[in-house]
Amino acid sequence: MIANAFSTSATKPSLESLIRLLALLAGVALLVVGLLFPLVAMLVKSLQDRAGDFIGLANFAQYFQTPALVNSIANSLRVALMTTVAVVGLAFVCAYGITRTCMPGKRLFRMLAILPILAPSLLPAISLVYLFGNQGFLRDVLAGHSIYGPIGIVIGMSFWIFPHALMLLTTALTNSDARLYEAAEALGIPKWRTFLTITLPGVRYGLISCLFVVFTLAITDFGVPKIIGGQFSVLATDVYRQVVGQQNFQMGAVVSVILLLPAVLSFIVDRWIQRRQVAQLSARAVPWQPTANPLRDWIFALLCYTVAGVILLVIGTAVYASLIQFWPYNLSFTLEHYTFQGMADGGWGAWFNSLKLAFSVALVGTLVIFFNAWLIEKSEGYRPLRQGLHFMAMLPMAVPGMVLGLAYIFFFNQAGNPLNWLYGTMAILVLNTLVHFYTVCHLTSVTALKQLDPEFEAVGASLKVPFWITFSRVTLPVSLPAVLDISVYLFVNAMTTVSAVVFLYNSDTRLASVAVLHLDEAGYFASAAAMAVLIFLTSLVVKLLHAVLTHVLLNNAQRWRLAG
């Protein structure tokens, strides 16, 4: 409060505040063009008939009168809730193990736990079939239940969503004030009460964000239910069935609108929590360091490495699948599937395109998203603009990739749109992917920024240092681990994403992830597995580079975290 009062008085109508306004407007413009306008084009579709005439809510009325469609709402909620409970529970335990215990092999576990994010969602789906399908090694584990249905969906989604949750919770648990824990210890407060009264309240913002991120990712996921869901239909696959199966764009738009509801809810809860969030890492905070406790440390190590073991099993199965001649009838080893004979012009061109896309998105996206988050969190004034930007930043997560892809066609390919030239280029793929994965990066930035005391900005302002100097000299270096996480997150998602780009690629911009889908569809399961493994290995190399870089930076620029 005091800090706020200070900085308000320090605000001056100057060149600096003009630049700030322009930067904010640029951020808003990006999301308006890249997200809002396409979505509006989509919403308009939901109120039209096939001929394009306005018919009000007639499509919605028809939707709610069709039991086959309405049932999907309950199905979606069910699998999304089950996934949320499983993923957030596991991720919290693991994040706690990483940040608050002295369990052995932390760095190794962090590397293993992030692996699922490096693979396209087709990879776990292929592996699950090999493991639990009718010919699977472990099919007896399911005791007669089919993997094709809710069970497979929950396992598959948990696999790929887990690293997202872990990333958010680790960031939330990383910064803590040792003084509080010392005080608790000095007062003789039991560990469980310390946990309930200091640890949990300290991370509640991150935890609740995480719950909503996971829930929304699960309810909008298309890849896993498409491949392993059997005939268990969920909202996201309904969009596909309506649009692709029946070319009923209007009904597809209606289902999409219904899918947008979780985002709206998520936004409301987020605002509510945010008003109560207090900066945790004040300028006087002393970073907390765990002390050894063999029993606790080994229990967490055991839990974490069980999770890691499952992850390795799933990935190992896909690698195995890519090396087998014709599973399950001819088990001789071969590298032949890596020549991608099922592809029109070989798979390696598509792989190169994916690489270009991923590097562009990582570079542009990281700068834009972190800077925008900083403008939202750490500026004064222009409140409606900042809130609008934050709302738009929350929205992409709730927009299924397929809906975003279609919305892009409707908007960018309209005759008379001045941005028409973007359509069919690599640039539109970059914009689409950046927007599609905006939310988690935004939340990571916000969580990291929230933990920095607003006094940093206030002091900067009172010393009459322009905001961009404060940003580049203090905020950015202090938040470097989060910034690097964001860039790698964007890179790997650009490598693996399918649903949004499937409508937008053209002959020059064919992508590796789309190739996985095509190979799988044509029955080249082993080649599909090979391409999925190739994407995975590419992401892995980048991730390793990131780990080395983070390590070096932590040793230099981040030394203050270890001080004391």
Binding site: V129, G133, N134, Q135, S146, Y148, K226, G230, Q231, T237, Y240, R241, V243, V244, G245, Q246, Q247, F249, Q325, F326, W327, P328, Y329, N330, Q341, G342, M343, A344, D345, L406, I409, F410, N413, Q414, A415, N420, Y423, G424, V502, F503, Y505, N506, S507, D508, H518, L519, E521, A522, G523, Y524, F525
Partner: protein, 321 residues
């Protein structure tokens, strides 16, 4: 200093030469297709052997996705030509006014049922057919024996109790093949019997898939014993070494055709016409015949591996009006 002054003009000349040459050399056509991706390269190569001056840029996806994409791009079409898409999809596009009528040179040589019916009424056809895409059942012989599921010979067989939980078929709501199956059952029997058949079949279905290839691929890897799919995929998987038999049910076979069309509004009319002319040539039909047993050009089709020889007689009468 000479080289430095020379350099820019040399570069300029080189750039100009390249630009001129490429202008003279290749027209690029954007071609949308649902042809199986394992065959695309072959199609382009054969076409380029005859017309090296036209370069094909493929945009390939499944029938549903490509159709959805074409419809979504209606106001500003990106494709110049559609080469290899289900005739049922092309009819939807035609109703939307998205196809340019054109009679390719030699269209009179094709089997009339492979050409847009408007041609018979004296108009230029909106689309011309390539080959027929025939329903079939893929049966895994190893799993069949192990799980005591006999090889079916008819659609009716699939409703027998021993098939319960062993049959996978494509969802007619999202797959062209699934739609074709339903349409053909309703046509083979009357409406009431057709629905009755589907009700009984539904009891035996383990699950429905999104793609029409998938049931056969799943039969090939033993995930299911019986996959309701189409002949091309079955024959292809069998020659890859899958332990499957491709069964052509005795009641009759539903089918759809792959066809080609010019997209209205293309600014590359001439090249598009060249491609369409070639796409109905005898040579092109011989190419289609390498994967499909029934093609549009009469007298071309040679029997191919894993297909019955009398397949034409077993296809039901379909009406593509």
């Amino acid at each position: 200093m000479m080289p430095r002054r020379l350099l820019p003009s040399t570069l300029l000349a080189a750039v100009a030469a390249v630009a001129l040459a490429s202008n003279a050399q290749a027209t690029e056509l954007t071609v949308y297709t649902a042809v199986e991706s394992d065959d695309l390269q072959k199609y382009a190569e054969r076409f380029n052997a005859a017309h090296p001056d036209i370069e094909i840029n493929w945009v390939r996806d499944s029938t549903g996705v490509i159709t959805a994409r074409l419809l979504a791009e209606k106001d500003n079409p990106q494709a110049d030509v559609i080469w290899g898409l289900a005739a049922t999809s092309l009819r939807v596009l035609e109703e939307e006014g998205m196809l340019e009528r054109y009679a390719p040179v030699g269209v009179e040589n094709l089997d009339p049922k492979f050409v847009d019916a408007a041609y018979r009424d004296g108009e230029d056809p909106a689309w011309v057919g390539m080959d027929a895409w025939v329903a079939a059942i893929c049966y895994n012989t190893i799993e069949g024996e192990r799980q005591g599921v006999p090889m079916p010979s008819s659609w009716e067989d699939l409703t027998q109790p021993e098939f319960e939980g062993h049959v996978i078929m494509p969802n007619p709501n999202s797959s062209g093949t699934g739609y074709l199956d339903v349409a053909s059952w309703l046509q083979l029997w009357d409406e009431e019997q057709g629905w009755d058949y589907m009700d009984r079949l539904h009891n035996n279905i383990a699950r429905y898939t999104h793609s029409g290839s998938a049931p056969c691929s799943l039969a090939a890897t033993g995930e299911t014993v019986v996959g309701v799919s189409f002949a091309f995929r079955g024959a292809r998987l069998k020659s890859q070494g899958a332990p499957i038999e491709v069964v052509f049910p005795e009641e009759g076979l539903g089918w759809d055709m792959e066809a080609s069309a010019m997209v209205a509004g293309t600014d590359k009319q001439e090249a598009a016409q060249t491609l369409l002319d070639w796409s109905i040539s005898r040579e092109a039909n011989e190419l289609y015949n390498e994967g499909y047993a029934v093609v549009a050009y009469p007298g071309v089709a040679q029997p191919i591996e894993n297909y019955p020889t009398d397949i034409t007689e077993r296809m039901i009468d379909a009406d593509f009006k």
